[in-house]
Symmetry: C2
Subunit: 417 residues, 2 copies
């Protein structure tokens, strides 16, 4: 059985994602497609434009058979932590092939790169440490250490400064580290770079980031119709009428309140709060009138924008170092939180369920786990705060069933609206 | 020199307060009137309708010469803690006469009551303990213990179930406990009970509570013109145009956010969080759509509305048990925070300054004290949140000077608008 796995955020789902799924179906002819998807907070430290439930429905309509949530502690983590968590979920689900997009489009260079780094670990770590001591950010320090090794390498290497190459490398490293039999397959990304902020209005593929920027800037959804499938258009359109889309600015008053009401000592307990950065946050928050300006004022060469955003998410959700200790040590998801499935996905789950090494969480009410508690808290806060801070908007995530999708009738049940 | 002292909230200032000041001027002919006033959060656990700076200006226009802030930890405290803090401020300022309103209007019964309780401390405390064990609220338990003693008393006693009598008793007890030479003077309260929620539209005196209810319910300020001095009318009118008035509902989304993002263990560290009440707060917050409904659902016989409101204020301001330990032990204000003064007040301060036992805090920037830190935090949160959660509304309390009032010209300088 060929079980294809994809690691996604779908923030929001767009034609590039559709292209990736089409390509994977044509080339691999999988029996099943499984996705591990980030919840309401994403790897770059941003709240999703629409909730995980909306994005789950999009994924199901795009033909994914089974969607599992990547726990918060991994989904809002550095690239290596994110990759480790996501790969662990797919591996536990029995995924045979992990498919990911990359700028390079072939897997061999990834294996060369992995060997190079694994065989020169000491030199690599030494160079990394020095670069960090010089005040470089993590990604820049990694790049510098890698450049140093590259000069002595044979075989084609991956350009790790490209964002999708870099993530892909972390996936392959995670597969290697857990001695998994999963086969990585990469698909050349089409047309647009991952981080592009603007898009060509004629092109049928635009980056998720450019779509978000456009929407959050008040751009009309109509102008995106050629870049997103029609089911995504309908979903976003409905969301737009009720709540609008969510971004950091929506949540900023609550982040500001949290910072204004915390002591430096309390903030120092927050996950990823390091080197006294809490004092910088506290000294800039009083004057900051929006999130963008706040991060701009706090930012230094040492801290990337994404790192400060992730840190802000952890402050907002009150995620502490001790909350993160357990998953960091385990390095894998201790449960599989089911977000959505179609009939095929359901049959597959029924077949493998008895062999699963970790509990399958369909209804949260029946489960208790400190890592799951973080997911519940993050979801409750996202739902409450993205309802515009209106107290009535809080919905009870814990009592809801996963989304079920009947493809033939095009009908959904379960989830939260 | 006769220095009159009053303990005030002025939330907002009204004709009843004016009447009290007129009576005190006529009967005592004081050389100076000093007030210790609560900051932005009040004894019943509510945010003030307008900020302490607005209320300081009202007090100055009403003829008070010197206004000192009652530190947060006392101003949002049970009656005995509130009284102890307030009396300590007035005593340190050299106040010779403490004037307070009461339902009984004469001081002798207070002294009888004080003697009765002091002479039967053990019996009183025993009765109190038993009543609390039976599940009574603090005020009801005190009343029950007092009833028990009263039966055996000679001399007229005070009815301590009347709110102003009760506060007055705590003032007199605080004076007694610190062996202060201050002379308590009580003025009979006119026309309205302290806690009345509605008022007679014809009457010139209404309770602050009824005025607040009316304003916060959207009532027109114009209809209050016969109940408040014209300078209060102008001040409230101006506020109304810019921000509207502040109440718990304004702050509720932030309380809800704080509770949704806190663990029971973290909440148990909050000041006045006792007997596991944090679990009750957590189980009702998700469904609560406003503050009134939230407190209604949490309330039990054991917890008064005011106690739950104070607890909510401490949650909102993140005031911990360890924050409160110091002032509770000291039992007196460790500094005098100057909010406002006229020329006369300024001259008086200049004359006594060298004899003060605690620092006079005019500009906060020069002072550091853990109790003052709580005041600064409470003010920053009030200013930010009462600005409707708009990030731009945060003003820097620490950099501002006290309000100075030139009575002849009717001009203010300093403070925060």
């Amino acid at each position: 059985m060929l079980i294809a796995g994809v690691i996604t955020e779908y923030n929001p789902f767009h034609n590039g994602h559709l292209y990736q799924l089409d390509t994977l179906r044509q080339t691999l002819r999988p029996d099943l497609i499984v996705s591990v998807m980030s919840g309401d907070f994403l790897q770059r430290g941003e709240p999703a434009v629409v909730s995980k439930w909306d994005r789950t429905r999009m994924a199901l309509q795009a033909g994914i058979d089974l969607i599992i949530e990547l726990p918060y502690i991994f989904s809002v983590g550095k690239a290596d932590i994110f990759a480790r968590g996501a790969v662990s979920v797919l591996d536990q689900l029995g995924v045979s092939h992990l498919i990911f997009g990359s700028e390079i489009g072939r897997t061999e260079p990834f294996f060369h790169t992995l060997s190079l780094i694994e065989n020169n670990k000491e030199r690599y770590n030494q160079a990394l440490k020095e670069a960090l001591r010089e005040g470089m950010s993590y990604p820049n320090a990694h790049a510098a250490a890698y450049r140093l090794l590259s000069s002595s390498a044979d075989g084609e290497l991956v350009d790790l400064t490209q964002p999708n190459n870099s993530l892909g490398f972390h996936y392959i490293q995670a597969i290697h580290n857990r001695k998994s039999a999963m086969i990585p397959v990469t698909i050349l990304r089409k047309e647009t770079g991952h981080g592009d902020r603007t898009f060509d209005s004629e092109a049928s593929i635009a980056s998720a980031r450019s779509i978000r920027s456009y929407l959050l800037g008040g751009g009309s959804l109509t102008n995106l119709q050629n870049k997103i499938p029609s089911f995504v258009y309908s979903s976003l359109n409905r969301k737009n009428e009720f709540h609008g889309f969510t971004d950091w600015e929506t949540f900023f008053p609550f982040l500001k309140y949290r910072l204004l009401s915390s002591t430096a000592q309390q903030l120092s307990q927050i996950y990823e709060m390091e080197e006294g950065i809490e004092h910088r946050l506290l000294s800039y928050i009083a004057k900051a009138d929006n999130f963008y300006n706040f991060i701009s004022s706090v930012k230094t060469k040492r801290y990337t924008w994404a790192r400060l955003q992730r840190l802000s998410v952890h402050v907002l959700t009150n995620t502490s170092k001790s909350d993160a200790r357990l998953p960091a040590a385990a390095g894998e998801a201790p449960y599989l939180r089911l977000l959505g499935m179609n009939k095929k996905g359901q049959n597959y789950l029924a077949a493998i369920r008895k062999d699963l090494q970790v509990p399958l969480v369909a209804k949260i009410r029946k489960h208790r786990n400190p890592i799951l508690d973080l997911d519940i808290r993050a979801a409750a806060l996202y739902d409450f705060l993205s309802g515009g801070g209106h107290p009535a908007a809080t919905r009870s995530e814990t009592s809801h069933a996963p989304v079920r999708y009947d493809e033939e009738k095009g009908l959904f049940t379960g989830g939260i609206d």
